[in-house]
């Protein structure tokens, strides 16, 4: 258990800078999720912490010690890979004990530590099997077990669930959350899936094109995104963005619009049907998806813009019907021309 500090970390490949100076302080025992679209540099950042990539500029320190020049094995980190990266020719026990054997740990201690980790993940019965004889979920457990055995200061997860099917992904996600509570270890987790980010993280780090867009708790990011990118990235379906000055029939009487705002953002789940008096936005229903617990209603505004509204199943709307929408003023977000949140 240790805190992790990144100070102006940069990464350059052949003169192309991919990480543009990242500053981040991760507290001891915190669960941090790096989230962002593919190619944003989140995996590179994780690999730099792990010691698999050189740090071009800046400093990474684990537990107060600068680790730039320390090799991966001695940084006290353990990594769980997307493809599990188990050693195919070794049994589960050998896979889990490999790191300890490399560190010349006494055999009794190896056995007790592997057994302890296996108990946490309930994989004791798999010790003699080879990775090819395991299911995807079991392989992932072994990969996590291999990390636990090392008793690292920081756990690093690189999209560990993306090779699992949907049901197993939810189950494993819950187990990782439990594991964090049980081990109270510092964990850094990379994903492009914002549901994983929201459910697992103590704090989320939203990364885009090599810079940090925002750091905050899941609720902070959801309620008060700092900019348009974060606003659209967090939440599903993504936040609706409507140009203000473009003459949509926004009922501006009920709205207090900051002077330099060019866009208003409202989440689909915050939109509701209204009567003509409280109407803030008019549109034409294009398509309706019934999802059981709610409806997803695709509404065409003038100028061919489309927004999505999440409505109750009892809403009596039809395709091609003109409807009025309203929302609570706490749920509206204004952005200026450069995409930065206002107010």
């Amino acid at each position: 258990m240790a805190n992790l500090n990144l100070k102006n970390v940069k990464k350059t490949y052949d003169k192309t800078e991919v990480i543009h100076g990242v500053d981040l302080d991760i507290n001891s025992g915190e669960f941090i999720v790096f989230v962002g679209p593919s190619g944003c540099g989140k995996s590179t950042l994780l690999r730099m912490i792990a010691g698999l990539e050189d740090i071009t500029e800046g400093e990474i320190s684990i537990g107060g010690e600068v680790v730039n020049k320390i090799i991966a094995a001695e940084r006290g980190v353990a990594m769980v890979f997307q493809s599990y990266a188990l050693y195919p020719h070794m049994t589960v026990f050998d896979n889990m004990s490999f790191a300890l054997k490399q560190a010349k740990t006494p055999i009794d201690e190896i056995k007790s530590r592997v057994l302890e980790a296996a108990k946490i993940l309930q994989i004791e019965s798999l010790f003699e099997r080879l990775p090819k004889q395991l299911s995807g979920g079991q392989r992932q457990r072994v990969a996590i077990g291999r990390a636990i055995v090392r008793n690292p200061k920081v756990f690093l997860f690189d999209e560990p669930l993306s090779n699992l099917d949907a049901a197993l992904r939810v189950q494993t996600r819950i187990e990782i959350a439990k594991l964090h509570n049980q081990l109270t270890a510092t964990m850094v987790y990379v994903t492009h899936d914002q549901v994983e980010a929201m459910t697992l993280a103590d704090r989320i780090v939203v990364i885009n094109e090599g810079i940090i867009e925002q750091v905050g708790t899941p609720i902070e990011l959801y309620n008060s995104p700092k900019n348009q990118f974060v606003a659209e990235f967090i939440g599903s379906p993504k936040m609706n963005m409507v140009d203000i000055k473009d003459g949509h029939k926004l009922n501006l009487i009920n709205l207090k619009v900051p002077s330099d705002a060019t866009k208003i953002g409202i989440r689909p789940e915050h939109l509701s049907l209204s009567n003509d008096e409280t109407c803030k936005l008019k549109g034409n229903v294009r398509h309706i998806e019934h999802l059981g617990e709610h409806l997803l209603c695709y509404i065409n505004l003038e100028k061919n813009d489309e927004i999505v509204a999440k409505l109750g199943v009892n809403s009596k709307i039809k395709i091609n019907e003109n409807i009025c929408l309203e929302w609570h003023q706490n749920h509206q977000h204004f952005f200026d021309s450069s995409g930065v949140s206002i107010g």
Partner: protein, 379 residues
């Protein structure tokens, strides 16, 4: 069930033809090597499985072996002498009518003596008067000759002609010449694939480029260099270490290239996991890469071993021709010149030289196929 299309039938037929074209000569060579040298010279190997009919002439024993029983004189014996196993079904006593009599019946010679010939070649020649001639009489027999095989050719070739020693010599050349490049190249290919160092790409490109340099071109320069170098240490000009080094050198590029091809198909995340787990490059190589590369090693072992085994040129240049150094192919070439008419020696010699490639191929063929398609199929 796969649908029968024209292409699938065609490919199956083609396969069948390949199999026949490969198996028939091999098998023929094998059978020929086991046949008696006299029979080999006059008939094809395919006739050796069936009982064949042969017409032969034998001569009975002369008067010194006659015995008198009662008032008749007898000469008893066997037409075949020591060489039994044939079955007579007809015989004759004149050259005009060589199959006049049924076996077991009695024929009368011109001089009124009577002879009875039995199936196994036993005969009883009976005369009322004493036999006077020292020479026996001719008997024509039609006999069935059963298939017969012999290991005599192998005995002769291996021990008298010195092919056995050449066989061992070839092993002494081929094993180190296969293992040394395999060991060197496995380390080298690992470094080329998984270690970052300056000039790696140029090194790789130069290896691939050197694949196209013909062996013949560099043969003599290398020999000269080796001789000059060897002279410094007092090593004989032509000796085993020389040919080991030569084969190693000629095999380095292709072996490295094939291994590099295999090693880069190993998942990079696994290598990184090993790195995080505290394995040095040396540990990663020995504990992870080598166990996973056994199929590739096996297939490269086969390729290089067969190449060295069948090589003549390098063997002629780097080794002497005296019995303790001559290799199988050179020995065969020598036999071809000196014993070109003795088919039994050539067929047997050829088969001896084939045994090892055949054995290796059949025992390691699954690695061979796996090695050739390595990387193309998800493991």
């Amino acid at each position: 069930m796969k649908k029968l299309t024209f292409t699938s039938i065609f490919s199956q037929l083609l396969l069948l033809i390949f199999v026949i074209v490969w198996i028939v000569p091999t098998f023929g060579l094998f059978i020929s090597s086991l046949r008696d040298k006299d029979v080999l010279a006059i008939s094809g190997w395919w006739t050796s499985f069936t009982t064949t009919e042969v017409n032969e002439i034998y001569r009975t024993e002369g008067n010194e072996s006659q015995i008198k029983e009662g008032d008749h004189y007898y000469i008893k014996g066997n037409l075949f002498g020591e060489d039994k196993g044939k079955q007579i079904f007809r015989f004759g006593v004149t050259s005009k009518n060589i199959d006049e009599f049924e076996v077991g019946s009695t024929a009368i010679f011109k001089d009124k003596t009577k002879i009875t010939v039995f199936e196994n070649g036993d005969y009883i020649w009976k005369s009322q008067e004493e036999f006077k001639k020292k020479k026996g009489k001719r008997v024509f027999v039609s006999a069935k000759s059963p298939p017969s095989f012999t290991l005599d050719n192998y005995k002769e070739v291996l021990f008298k002609e010195g092919l056995g020693q050449a066989f061992l010599n070839t092993f002494a050349v081929a094993l180190p010449s296969t293992l040394i490049p395999l060991i060197i190249c496995s380390f080298f290919a690992y470094a080329l694939t998984w270690m970052k160092f300056y000039g790696r790409d140029i090194l790789l490109a130069s290896i691939i480029a050197s694949l196209v340099v013909p062996l013949q071109m560099s043969l003599i320069p290398i020999l000269t260099v080796y001789n000059d170098f060897g002279a410094l240490f007092g090593v004989a000009a032509k000796s085993y270490p020389g040919i080991w080094m030569a084969h190693t050198g000629f095999g380095l590029a292709s072996t490295t290239f094939l291994l590099w091809n295999f090693l880069k198909s190993l998942p990079s995340e696994m290598m990184e996991a090993a790195k995080v787990d505290g394995a040095t490059h040396y540990d990663t190589f020995l504990k992870i890469v080598v166990p996973l590369s056994i199929p590739a090693f096996a297939s490269i072992f086969i390729l290089q071993f067969l190449w060295v085994w069948n090589d003549l040129l390098v063997g002629l240049v780097f080794l002497d021709k005296h019995p303790s150094e001559i290799i199988l192919t050179a020995k065969l070439k020598e036999l071809l010149g000196s014993r070109g008419e003795n088919w039994e020696i050539l067929t047997t010699g050829a088969f001896v030289s084939m045994t090892v490639p055949l054995f290796i191929f059949f025992s390691l063929q699954r690695y061979f196929i796996r090695g050739l398609v390595a990387g193309s199929i998800k493991g």
